[in-house]
Amino acid sequence: MQVSTDTVWQWLSEVPDPEIPVISLTDLGIIRDVSWDEDTLVVTVTPTYTGCPATSVINLDIETKLRSCGIDDLRLEQKLSPAWTTDWLTAEGREKLREYGIAPPSETQDERGAGTDARVARLTGLRTLVVACPRCGSQNTEMISQFGSTPCKAAYRCRACLEPFDYFKCH
C-alpha cells in the first residue's frame, strides 16, 4: 500500500542538510514536490546554487532515507524553476540557524531589490545591510568576505563581542 505524501514529507523533514546539519531539507525549502506516479514515488528537488557540491549528497541522503522507510520504487527529479530563494527558508529553520551560530538572511528578495539601482545603493553604502550577531544580538557587525565556508554563506564579524560568524546570505 502507498504511504501518504504527508508521511513522506514528514520523513524528509528528518533528513538534515549535509553541510548545515542543524536544519532539514524541508527547512531549507528545496523539496518542491512529493507525488506518486503509479507505483513510483517522485521527489522533486531544486538546487540551492548551481554548483553547490552538496547537491549530489542531498540526493543520496533522500534516497537512503526513503529506502530505509521501505520505499523501493523511487525517482528523484531536478526542477530549476521557480529558482530557489532564501525566502523559502522556514521560520523554524531560521531560528535553528541562529541558535547554531549562523545569522539567517536578514532581507527578502523584494527588500534586496534587483538591477543597477539596487546594486549602486549596496555598493555605495546608501543601503547598508544590517546583520545581527547570532551570538550576542548586536547589530554592530561588519562583513569580512562576501563568500564563506559554503556557497550559501558570507563571512561576518561582530564588533561588539568580537566573534566571527557565518551569514546565510540572501539569495
Binding site: 554548483g51 546594486r119 546570505k169
Partner: protein
C-alpha cells in the same frame, strides 16, 4: 513558451548553447586555478565559490546542449572529450590569471556582460533557456557586486594596486569587443526570440563599466580593436594548455569514472 527546436535549427541552438556553457566552464576553470594560491584566505574562498557557481552554470548549459545535439553526449563528454577547436568560449575567459588584479578585472568585464545577457535571457521564448538564465542570473549578480566593489577598491587604492588594475584593464581591453560581436548564430537566435542580439547589450555594459571605472579612478582605453575567434573555435594559445590540465584525467585514463 516554446520548447527546444520549435523555431530554430538544432545545430544553431547547439552552437549557441556551447558558447554559454564553454564561457562559464573555461572562466570557472581559470578562477579555480587560484584555489590555495590567493592573497588572503577570504579571497581564496570567494574565488573557489565563484568558480563553483560558474562550473555549475556550465553544467546546465552543456547538459541542454547535449540534449539538443541528440548524439548521446552529455555535460561530461562535452567538457572533457572535446579539443581546443571545438570550444566556443569567448577569448577573454581563457586569458591567463596574471596577478590578482588581472583576474579581478577579467571577472568584472565578464560579470557586467553576463549580468545583462542573463537578464535579457529571462524572457527567452525557450523555456529551458529562460529558467537557466533566472538561476544563473542570481549568482552572477552576486559575483558582479563583488567584482565591482574590488575593482573600485583596488583602482582607487594604493599606487601599486592602481597601476596593476590599470595595466590589467589595458591588457584585457582588446578582448572586450568579442562579447558584442554578432554572427549568423546570434542573428538566428535573436530572430527566433530566443536570445538578444549581442550588440544590444553594449550600451548598458558601457554605462556600468564607465560608472565603476570613474569611481575606481581608472582610464578606459579608447581603442575599438577586438580580438575575435573564440566563438567559432579559433582560440589563443592559452586554451590548449588550460585543457591539458582540465582534461588530464580523461586523456590519461579514457572513460574513467567514479
Amino acid at each position: 513558451m516554446m520548447t527546444q527546436g520549435d523555431n530554430i535549427a538544432n545545430d544553431i541552438l547547439f552552437e549557441w548553447l556551447l558558447r554559454r556553457g564553454d564561457t562559464a566552464l573555461i572562466l570557472g576553470h581559470r578562477v579555480s586555478e587560484w584555489c590555495g594560491h590567493s592573497p588572503a584566505l577570504e579571497e581564496d574562498i570567494a574565488l573557489a565559490n565563484i568558480a563553483l557557481d560558474l562550473i555549475g552554470q556550465s553544467r546546465l548549459w552543456l547538459g541542454y546542449a547535449g540534449e539538443v545535439e541528440d548524439r548521446g553526449r552529455g555535460e561530461n563528454e562535452l567538457a572533457y572529450l572535446r579539443d581546443t577547436w571545438d570550444f566556443r568560449n569567448i577569448l577573454l575567459a581563457e586569458q591567463p590569471n596574471g596577478d590578482f588584479g588581472t583576474t579581478l578585472m577579467r571577472q568584472f568585464l565578464i560579470d557586467v556582460w553576463q549580468d545583462a545577457l542573463l537578464e535579457a535571457l529571462k524572457t527567452s521564448a525557450d523555456e529551458r533557456i529562460a529558467e537557466i538564465a533566472v538561476k544563473a542570473g542570481k549568482e552572477v549578480a552576486y559575483h558582479l557586486d563583488r567584482s565591482s566593489d574590488l575593482v573600485i577598491r583596488l583602482g582607487d587604492g594604493t599606487p601599486e594596486s592602481h597601476w596593476r588594475m590599470q595595466d590589467a584593464l589595458d591588457t584585457l581591453w582588446p578582448y572586450v569587443g568579442e562579447m558584442f560581436a554578432a554572427d549568423a548564430v546570434d542573428e538566428a537566435m535573436a530572430a527566433a526570440g530566443l536570445a538578444p542580439d549581442p550588440k544590444m547589450l553594449k550600451p548598458g555594459w558601457e554605462h556600468t563599466v564607465a560608472a565603476v571605472f570613474k569611481q575606481a579612478t581608472l582610464t578606459q582605453p579608447q581603442s575599438d580593436f577586438a580580438h575575435k575567434g573564440g566563438l567559432t573555435g579559433r582560440h589563443s594559445e592559452h586554451l590548449g594548455h588550460l585543457l591539458s590540465e582540465m582534461q588530464f584525467l580523461q586523456r590519461a585514463y579514457p572513460g574513467a569514472t567514479w
